[in-house]
Symmetry: C2
């Protein structure tokens, strides 16, 4: 069948003709307006089914200014996005919440300025009702400003760098998390405590190090700080560097579980036992943390909840007409546009 034979999609008009009613009535039935006689509604429903009618989203959006669609933009390499369970959980949480609200979530993973630009044009073209932004880097990112400027509702996952924009966000309490990790290592008697940080152009990386540093105080050893990129590979490499520079390290805070797992590899290869020789604390509490060898002591963050809360916040701004039931588990009022979710230490065997 040649492409030219593509059948014309049925319109409201067609359904109306078939059901013997007006366009307006079909619209009412399709949108669930209650003021339609049951018999007529049934006739319309039948016609809809027979024709396989599907409302044209463009036409609807054009007049109603709503698309019932939200965008999730992760400005990150797809290798990172796909390699890190963190994203999986955020996506899960936001999809759950979007579905519950009857919204569709679409994902964008722009990798370079060109793709970022394309994504921006897309969301600015009115194709979505609001935007979730995650994995923000400090390098100048025009997206949040441009969207806010354009009047598009935005919620950021993590702490925004430019607070002056006044943008809503949902963060994890990364500073406290860093503190908890440091405290645990001190409490179990470690003295030469190093850390593999996250990227220092991301708020999560910065804040976790900040908490770690301030908790350690005098005991903080700048020479035991190595930088990672949140990935397992980077954690392994960082741990190797650390071991080479400071073989006497006896405690290690990895700012992500993936990096902690990488550190495990490096430590094992170097013949160090965990936790006997080096105690390790991670961050995230991803699924495999519990089944790692040894099971990883880590700081748990509520990533699914973060995703849900982000969508809630976004919905409140993008669709104030919708009345949503309160989301359980939030630390503050649901309307608070600056949410910081609590973290907790999960003690297993690695520290």
């Amino acid at each position: 069948m040649p492409a030219s034979a593509r059948p014309k999609r049925p319109s409201l008009e067609d359904v109306a003709a078939r059901a013997g009613v007006s366009r307006a009535t079909v619209s009412r039935v399709v949108n669930g307006t209650p003021t339609v006689d049951a018999a007529i509604a049934a006739r319309v429903d039948q016609a809809v089914r027979e024709l396989g009618y599907q409302p044209n989203l463009s036409a609807r959006a054009l007049v109603s200014k709503r698309t019932d669609t939200l965008a999730l933009v992760a400005s990150e390499s797809d290798a990172r996005v796909f390699g890190d369970p963190f994203f999986s959980r955020i996506v899960r949480g936001s999809t759950l919440e979007a579905s519950a609200a009857g919204m569709q979530l679409v994902l964008f993973m722009p990798q370079d300025p060109d793709e970022l630009d394309r994504a921006e044009r897309y969301v600015r073209s009115g194709a979505v009702d609001g935007v979730l932004l995650i994995s923000q880097h400090e390098t100048y990112d025009p997206l949040p400003g441009a969207l806010i400027q354009a009047g598009i509702p935005v919620v950021i996952g993590g702490r925004p760098f430019d607070e002056s924009l006044g943008v809503a966000y949902v963060d994890n309490d990364n500073v406290t998390g860093g503190r908890l990790a440091a405290r645990r290592l001190v409490e179990i008697g470690r003295r030469r405590i190093g850390t593999i940080t996250g990227p220092q152009d991301m708020s999560a990386g910065i804040d976790r190090l900040e908490g770690f540093r301030s908790e350690l105080g005098e005991a903080f050893r700048p020479d035991l700080v190595v930088h990672g990129e949140f990935t397992q590979q980077s954690g392994m490499e960082a741990a190797r560097r650390l071991l080479a520079d400071a073989p006497d390290v006896d405690g290690l805070f990895a700012a992500s579980d993936l990096m902690a797992l990488g550190a495990f590899q490096a430590l094992h290869q170097a013949g160090r036992r965990v936790p006997e020789d080096v105690a390790v604390v991670g961050f995230d509490d991803i699924q495999v943390a519990a089944s790692a060898f040894p099971p990883l002591t880590t700081v748990r963050q509520q990533t699914v909840l973060q995703g849900r809360a982000m969508v809630r916040l976004l919905m409140a701004r993008a669709r104030p007409d919708l009345e949503l039931p309160p989301l359980p588990g939030l630390p503050g009022p649901a309307s608070d546009p600056h949410l910081v979710l609590p973290v907790e230490l999960v003690v297993r065997e690695s520290a």
Copy 2:
């Protein structure tokens, strides 16, 4: 600023008024029609910039029947999608190709029938020009049929179960891949060769096993077949079961690299050396395969190319008006709607 203060977005009309031209002329300039006087085009461009004008996608799509958007639907749990580099590469390939063609790619990861239904409504509402479908399971999936029925261009990644639909697809030569793996293990003198299969409700899982089985012929040992789910965890568990049932196994074909890596874990923990005691061949050639310990012998599939080819195929059906340069690296003519990409054995140290 209350949400109600959201400024009205500028329309073509506004730009036209500001530039002192007609709506049609602004449309021409915005769409790059060459028949516009340079001076006038400059004036329009200026007005566009001053107003921050962004064409309304809905309005455009309504009349032009094009959205310049493609959907990629991965019917898979987000844990699987995010845990497997395979998806990352497919996404990379399709995004690259979509960008090159000036199209936007949006991702969907429906996890349950409800989300699948929502995604279907979305793509059937005219919000996209075409759909890429990956990670299809044999369990009855109404999506391909429904989309084809609705006249929406579809391309499937992998071998479709229902060939009667005549849908275009891009597959990897999984049968040959299974053969290559088996042949390698035989050639290096292995006699008791087991396999960890992929899911048997997915064509990739079925076909790799089929190739492996037919190559082995008489030497195929049904008792050395264990099933996995393509994940590292499932590979580890499957290898443990295999070792428990058949401690004398000396060769192993894992139908994905992730499962091979899981098998490595199980083998190490069981005190087996790779490749001395058990030779292992994987499938995919994901990035970490080369840096695994030992480096993994595997069957390389061209996943990025697959993603690119899928978009090409889709564009040919969704946008026949666009003339795209040929895509290098394809085994057949670019117009062939049933593409099977070649695979190759990459010999490293594990087998």
